[in-house]
């Protein structure tokens, strides 16, 4: 089967209610509904989730790896942006 008939899809699974869908991998499928079925067979065989999203890989816009330095390095030396300098009251619980 030529690749053009079964384009690539990115698969996102939500493990439990209240959590986010998380990217788990990709697969080839002819269309969205077959992609969801294949995702069920490939990625939820061990009870990994209760909801599936699929997105055509061609629809994802990605940052350019070659501009990685200007995009991400400036954040490296700004530790004060991490919320680690505050005392969190016990009542607040996990953050």
């Amino acid at each position: 089967m030529p690749d053009t008939m079964t384009p690539l899809w990115e698969v996102f699974i939500r493990p439990r209610n209240g959590l986010h869908h998380k990217h788990v991998g990709s697969l080839h499928a002819a269309d969205a509904s077959l992609a969801i079925q294949s995702a069920r067979d490939v990625y939820t065989r061990r009870g990994e989730g209760n909801s599936i999203w699929v997105v055509p890989s061609s629809q994802i816009s990605a940052s350019d790896p070659s501009s990685g330095k200007e995009m991400f390095d400036p954040a490296d030396d700004k530790v004060y942006r991490h919320p680690t300098f505050y005392d969190i009251p016990d009542e607040v619980g996990n953050m």
Binding site: M1, A29, A30, S33, Q37, V42
Partner: protein
């Protein structure tokens, strides 16, 4: 094996027939493992094979319990001779190409899904209701998955449509047997344990007609339905299935794993 001295209730016979259907089809579908047209479908087919084998295990275990003659589910699954297997002919048909296999799956799932739905809702047999509760969900998925493929192959490329039509020509005349049942199945229907299989035909026909309409396929007329499996009369291929299926138990008797 003892055999002749044992009285076999119609419940035992009916459960065994269902178990044989699921074992033989599960084995057939498992033959695809590692050979499917694409990785995604390889896993999908293996999943379906495992569902069917799981259902057959539950049914054989129940049959062994009803018989209460010291035979285990393994004895029933692996240590009978060909004439004693009472699966319908549809499930033993060779895999052929992917169109044949997925159409066979559609025909069987479109029958078993309403069958298990009925058992889960109406049967007065608690064990079978339990088996049906799980099987119903699995067959709903088999039905959906195989139907999606039949539509796409029927309404796909020129070649896929030809292959789908050939599969219908080769397999449709094995579907009548599903609704003929057997004396044991009829007796269980009388007792309110299982549905009367003849009454499932309209639902099956409308499911298949709906899928075929979407896939631009035609429902064929069947002049000469093929039957005999329920009486142990099988096609030549059945011997080949059993020689592979029974090899381990015959070579290493009482093997457990």
């Amino acid at each position: 094996m003892t055999g002749a001295a044992i009285f076999h209730s119609h419940l035992f016979e009916a459960v065994l027939q269902l178990a044989d259907d699921h074992l033989i089809l599960g084995h057939r579908v498992s033959e695809w493992c590692g050979h499917a047209p694409m990785l995604e479908e390889d896993l999908g087919l293996a999943n379906m094979a495992l569902d069917l084998l799981g259902q057959s295990r539950a049914l054989y275990a129940y049959a062994a319990q009803i018989e209460d003659a010291g035979r285990s589910e393994d004895d029933l699954a692996f240590l009978r001779v060909e004439l004693q297997y009472q699966n319908c002919l549809l499930v033993e048909r060779p895999n052929g190409d992917f169109a044949h296999s997925i159409l066979r799956q559609l025909y069987f799932a479109a029958f078993m899904h309403p069958f298990w739905q009925h058992v889960a809702a109406c049967s007065n047999d608690e064990t079978l209701r339990g088996i049906a509760g799980k099987a119903e969900k699995e067959m709903a998925y088999h039905l959906r998955h195989s139907a999606e493929w039949v539509v796409r192959l029927g309404d796909g490329t020129e070649e896929s449509a030809v292959r789908m039509k050939n599969a219908i020509d080769d397999l449709h005349h094995y579907t009548d047997e599903l609704f003929q049942g057997s004396p044991a199945l009829a007796a269980c229907a009388e007792d309110g344990v299982l549905p009367d299989v003849a009454t499932l035909r309209p639902a099956w026909t409308s499911t298949i007609a709906g899928v075929f309409a979407q896939g631009l396929l035609e429902m064929p007329e069947v002049a000469h339905p093929q039957t005999g499996g329920r009486m142990g009369e099988h096609g030549e291929e059945m011997g080949h299935i059993l020689s592979e299926l029974q090899y381990m138990q015959r070579t290493y008797p009482n093997l457990q794993w």
